[in-house]
């Protein structure tokens, strides 16, 4: 904060009226409960996670607990599993978000220019959004399962193909389930962005002889950029914490483990709170970095500067 704005604040404070003071008091009282609950389960636990991560805390061997400094972090960063899972996370995030972006954009454009059946298509895309992720994962898992699934009977793939017995085919199904579940969210955000574009621009471009492709790249895409970046940021952060689908389909076998699954295994299955917390904290830092790159690097106008209307 600059000296100038501080000075202005002071000048403002002098004629503060009772009404303003009462309004501020009411506002703080109204906000306090929600702020308290939000901090209770984020700020305090993440602080606690940092504390745990610099200690040896293994609930199976409670006697051995003690301060170990950065040993847990060193152990995590030296393990091949961490790097493999980081690659898996990045791979799933990049591939699924890229597919979602293309499909979501196509869907949004189609919905925007709907000839008829707009309600039908909206209902259809909202069904995947509403379905529980675990249920969606089971649905795709059963569809591809060589024991009972119908996909292998379609004649496109070999009849005995064991989809979950190989890393890349397992990833293909996992990504497919993710894309199916979350494309609607992308499409709806892009559709809302499309609705804000003035139709007159297209008419003017048409008069000037611009082709449909030119209109898309010169008008739609630049004007859609703010909505696009927000949708991308939210979807990337969401995809980066992928857990449900992988847990249901492979539990991380065939080298398909994600960082969230690694963290879960350490914390809950092995009860190693120190090592697991180190993974959690590192994952948290990665998420912060993604958000930072989007907001500072790409200038994503996250809808937080709430005062402007």
């Amino acid at each position: 904060m600059t000296a100038l704005s501080l000075g202005r604040k002071k000048a403002k404070r002098a004629p503060i009226s009772d009404k303003t003071r009462a309004e501020r008091k009411l506002a703080l009282m109204l906000c306090a409960p929600a702020v308290f609950v939000m901090l209770l389960v984020t700020l305090y636990p993440i602080g606690y996670a940092i504390v745990l991560s610099v200690q040896k805390v293994d609930l199976r061997f409670p006697a051995e607990s003690g301060f170990v400094g950065l040993d847990n972090y060193a152990a995590v960063l030296k393990s091949d599993l961490w790097w493999q899972d980081l690659f898996n996370n990045t791979f799933v995030t990049v591939v699924s978000v890229a597919i979602e972006l293309v499909l979501g954009m196509a869907l949004a454009l189609v919905m925007h220019r709907a000839i008829f059946g707009r309600g039908l298509i909206r209902t259809a895309v909202l069904i995947p959004y509403g379905i529980v992720t675990v249920v969606a994962a089971f649905a795709w898992f059963f569809a591809f399962d060589p024991e009972s699934g119908f996909v292998n009977t379609l004649g496109i793939f070999e009849a005995e193909k064991a989809w979950f017995g190989d890393r890349w085919s397992a990833f293909a199904v996992i990504i497919m389930a993710e894309v199916w579940k979350t494309t609607p969210f992308m499409a709806l955000l892009l559709l809302a962005g499309l609705a804000t574009i003035d139709n007159g621009l297209y008419e003017a471009a048409k008069v000037d002889g611009a082709s449909a492709v030119q209109r898309f790249f010169r008008i739609t895409l630049p004007l859609l950029k703010p909505a696009l970046l927000v949708a991308l940021l939210f979807r990337m952060l969401d995809a980066f914490r992928v857990f449900d689908s992988i847990f249901v389909m492979t539990r991380g076998s065939q080298d398909t483990e994600s960082l969230s699954i690694l963290s879960y295994n350490q914390l809950i299955s092995r009860l190693n709170l120190g090592l697991g917390s180190a993974v959690s904290v590192l994952l948290f830092i990665l998420v912060l970095m993604i958000a930072f790159v989007f907001v500072k690097g790409f200038g994503t106008a996250v809808p937080s500067q709430g005062d402007r209307k």
């Binding site: 929600a34 795709w140 119908f150 949708a231 939210f234 998420v287």
Partner: protein
Amino acid sequence: MTRQSPRARLAWTVGLSVVVVYAMVPVLWLMSLSLKSPDSVADKKVIPENISFENYEALFAGGLDSPLLRPLINSIVIALTATVIAVTLASFTAYAIARLDFPGKGLILAGALAIAMFPPISVVGPLFDMWRTLGLYDTYVGLIIPYLTFALPLAIYTLVAFFREIPWELEQAAQVDGATPWQAFRKIILPLAAPGVFTAAILVFIFAWNDFVFAITLTSSDSARTVPAALAFFTGESQFTAPVGAIAAAAVLVTIPIIIFVLIFQRRIVAGLTAGAVKG
């Protein structure tokens, strides 16, 4: 609309059908599996030969000890409680942000946004440890609290966007015309705010109903385990029979209400999902 060429209409019909089929395939496959009897569940046929309700009966056999009844009750109670509390607290906050002038407004919105991006798995370890010490592990409250935290940002953003659109001057106008403050609130403001509040409630409910990470890490038994977590731990009659039919039937049961929900409230859901993100 009427001037579209027949070819455009045909292309549109094909496109529409592809989208609808793609959206429905997993749901239809689950329904098909759930209606197959245990000995034909692996026949890979898209349409079951003999329709059997065995899987559904098995889910509820044994009353409260049945595989699905307790988790279903847990899911409903936990999601509804979290929804009511989250929407109430978010309404207070959103009202203050939309209508009152106070320092820290931007900070609250930025903080809420940060929480919306927060990876839940990062707080699972500490919560697991804290809840065991506090006696909240494997209880309703132990799940409701994290659901509130992660649903509040969503609810606050949706409600702020809605509340900003309300013409609050009407309240004063009504009072000038002789209405009491309570009448002005009940007859003018409440009907205007209700759609936004309702939309926020739907989004929060879907979020809480969908959660899996907290549900499997902060519970250990059917006393608080919700449906998604219970599904992941379903076992067959013996360890050698995969409970495909049972899982499919349970999945269908928790999906049908959501589909009905979506059919009825689709406009509100779309409005709510996009309100916070685009209007800013």
